[in-house]
Structure formats: C-alpha cells, structure tokens
C-alpha cells in the first residue's frame, strides 16, 4: 500500500532536519514506541507496541535512515518481527520544503505486513498504515513546534478524541 501526506511545521528547515535525526524526537513520534536506542547515526533498535482494535502485538526490530540529503530529506524505514503475529515493514520518503519561517514536510509511505497479521487483517492493512503514518507525522510536528495553545491542555484533548479521521474528512 502507498500513501502520501503533508505536514506543515512552524519551524525553520534546519530545526526540522535536526529533529528528524534526533532519537528522542523519534521516540516521541513513533506510535506505541516502548524503547529506542541508537546503534549508529543511521541505525536504531526499537521496540514498538501496535494496538489496533482487538489486536495488540509488540514488534522488535530496527529503524534505519538512508538516502540522507541534509537538510532536504531522507528515507526512514522501520521493520520488525511481532513473534506469532508476523512481521511489519514500513518506510517513508521524507522531503522538506522551506517557507519563510516554517517548513512543509512531504512524505510518501509504503507499508507491508506478513504472517498471521496479513492473513487475518488484510482488509485493515491500508487503514492501519494510514493511521500510523498520520499519527507519526502529527506527533513529530507537535514535538518540533508545540502548538502555542498546547499549555491549555484540557479542551485540546477533547478535540483529539474526535479522532484523526474526522479531521481528515472535515477538511
């Protein structure tokens, strides 16, 4: 499955690029990330818990950064094995375009799953991959440039609870 998306971030491109290479920011952004540790500048070991509806599987694997083109973008790939659940692999080609004081992040995602997850969940793969990719880039945007009103947290959580799909179709 393939999908593309755009995330607008209120920060200069250099700051966004640095964040794309920051393990701590990646940990906060990867949905369900339990732990992530740096092996080298372009390789990390990660443990991620994926929860979609009744399914809950913990994947251990690695995150790699390739095609590095600072500060224009790179390809980030995550792949892991979820034990009896099967395996999952997803990659995103990320391109940064600078506006005056902000950055537009364009991404193109490919995702694959295999094993039992794929057998039983084939009708849900696309929707799940879209949800995870959208969550990742939204959280990433928030981590790099926290929205000004984020301090007044309570009303914001209700808005969040309305869900990403509503926001998508109400645009």
């Amino acid at each position: 499955m393939d999908m593309t998306g755009t995330q607008h971030i209120e920060a200069p491109r250099d700051v966004v690029w640095a964040a794309l290479n920051d393990v701590e920011v990646l940990r906060q952004s990867i949905p369900g990330c339990q732990s992530i540790e740096k092996v080298s500048d372009t390789e990390m070991n990660a443990k991620v818990t994926l929860k979609v509806g009744p399914v809950k599987a913990t994947f251990t694997g690695k995150v790699t950064l390739t095609d590095l083109d600072p500060p224009n973008g790179y390809t980030i790939t995550g792949e892991g094995s979820g034990g009896p659940a099967g395996f999952a692999k997803g990659s995103a080609v990320v391109r940064l375009v600078e506006d005056t004081a902000s950055t537009t992040l364009n991404y193109e995602v490919k995702a694959q799953i295999g094993g039992k997850l794929a057998q039983l969940g084939s009708r849900l793969i696309d929707a799940t991959a879209k949800k995870l990719a959208t969550e990742f880039f939204e959280k990433f945007g928030e981590a790099v440039a926290p929205p000004a009103e984020a301090a007044a947290a309570e009303p914001a959580t209700t808005e969040k609870k309305r869900g990403w799909f509503r926001r998508l179709i109400n645009k």
Binding site: P54, D126, I169
Partner: protein, 265 residues
C-alpha cells in the same frame, strides 16, 4: 491462545472494578472478534471478564418514542424482535445481515459498537438513527461516539450498557458484502428521523463510519433514489484493498444509498 483467567462478573460494578485493577483485562460478551484474535495469539488478555449474562445489560423495550436495546442483545434476537421489525425495520434488517448464523447468535450490539470495526454494520445504524449510547458512566451521542479506526469515545474501563434508538419515520440499510467475511465492503443506512431530518451513514468505505452529507442534502431536496444516486462521493481517504479500490467504494455509496431510499419504510 495464551493463558488467561476467566471471570464471570456478578455485576456491572464488579466488571468495572476488575477492568480498573487489571489493565490487561478484556471484557467479553459474544466474543466473535475477541476469541478468534486471542486464539491466533494476536492479543493477550490477563483476564477475560464475562458480562454477557448480566441482567443490567439485557432487555429490548419500547420507552416512549425510543427503542432501548440492552448491550448484550444478540444480532439474532434483534433481527427477530417484533418491536424492532415494526418500529425500526431498517435496523432489524441490518441485524439479520451480519456475519453468519453462529455470529448472529453470539455476537452482541454492545460488543460490535465498542469494537468499532470499520466494516461492521451496527455503527451505520447507530450514526444514521442518531442513537444514544448509555454507558456505565454517561450517555454519548452517536455523532461523538465513533472517533476513528477501531476507536470510540469510550474511556478505558467504560462499559456500554444499552443503546437507545429514536423511532424514525423511515429507515433502510443496504449492504454490499465481502463474500468471504460477510463484512460490509460498503454499507449504507438511510434514516428519516421523527423531525423530518435525513441522515445517511456509511460503513466499510472509510477507516471509520461517517455521514454522507452530500447525499443527505440531495435527499433533503428530494427524497428519491435518483437524488441519492446523483450525489457524488470523493474517493479521498477511503479504503482500498484487494477486494475493492477506493474509487469502487466511492461509486458504491450513492448506488447503495439509492437502493436504501427505495426500500425505506
């Protein structure tokens, strides 16, 4: 299946306490999604808290201008209910189309809407009929209940107790099923509510049930199959898989809406 501890709850309060004290406990009613998932080891539950027999969750009654349905009412019970067949024929018809006979005799309305599978049938009825979901803590309106892929407004440990449907003037559900799973490739529920407002809810097409507002406005001008079929639905954000592309699903929505309008009574 991983080892788990089965607990038959004696009251709603006991079930709520078990969920609060055990973060990896799972509620089970009909188990038609949960049990296959556990058997395949795609999930692990420390406890299975069984609520299917609780008296507080039973019942199928007429209360004023609403039909109130207990959370553990099975699809088969609902499909066979004279009350539902007379007052909300579209809902009874929908319940009879879910899965196969074993699923209909075990699966429950509360379990279905709490799971919020993107291709489940009940969410379309709850949203189109503007039902209210009564939980162990509060009442949630249909427009606020379904929030995303397998996501609802329910908090952890919150239990669906009953669903209250206002009796509509007319209702109908049309489903294009995926022949292997019997889930809706696309399902469309059309309702004309008591105040004359028209609501059209679509399941199976997107990551979560949604209202087809373009069809609603077309039907408000003219409640005819032609009006429904002439409304366009964008394929943006819709599901695409080996069973059908997003464009195919987008095409099916007005087609099914038109059939539902023709059936509505």
């Amino acid at each position: 299946m991983y080892q788990t501890t089965y607990v038959r709850a004696s009251s709603l309060a006991e079930a709520a306490n078990l969920l609060r004290d055990n973060p990896d406990a799972k509620l089970i009613s009909g188990g038609q999604t949960l049990v296959p998932t556990l058997r395949q080891r795609l999930a692990r539950a420390s406890h299975l808290v069984d609520i299917v027999h609780l008296a507080e969750l039973r019942g199928l009654t007429l209360e004023g201008d609403r039909v109130v349905i207990g959370a553990t009412t099975t699809h088969a019970e609902l499909a066979a209910s004279d009350l539902v067949r007379q007052r909300i024929p579209g809902l009874a018809h929908l319940a009879g189309l879910i899965g196969d006979p074993p699923v209909r005799h075990l699966g429950t309305i509360g379990g279905s809407i709490a799971n919020n599978d993107p291709a489940a049938d009940y969410p379309a009825a709850v949203l189109a009929l503007n039902a209210a979901v009564h939980t162990s803590r509060r009442t949630i309106g249909a427009d606020d209940f379904f929030t995303g892929l397998f996501e609802t407004a329910l908090d952890p440990g919150e239990i669906v107790v009953r669903v209250s449907f206002p009796i509509p003037r007319r209702s109908a559900y049309e489903k294009f099923h995926q022949s292997a799973s019997r889930f809706a490739l696309v399902g469309v529920f059309v309702a004309v509510l008591a105040d004359g407002s028209i609501r059209v809810a679509v399941t199976g097409a997107g990551p979560c049930v949604f209202r087809a507002t373009s069809i609603e406005s077309a039907l408000a001008r003219s409640f005819t199959a032609e009006a429904a079929e002439s409304a366009a639905i964008s394929a943006d954000g819709l599901n695409s898989d080996i069973h059908g592309s997003a464009e195919f699903r987008a095409h099916l929505v007005p087609v099914l809406a038109a059939r539902a309008v023709a059936q509505a009574r």
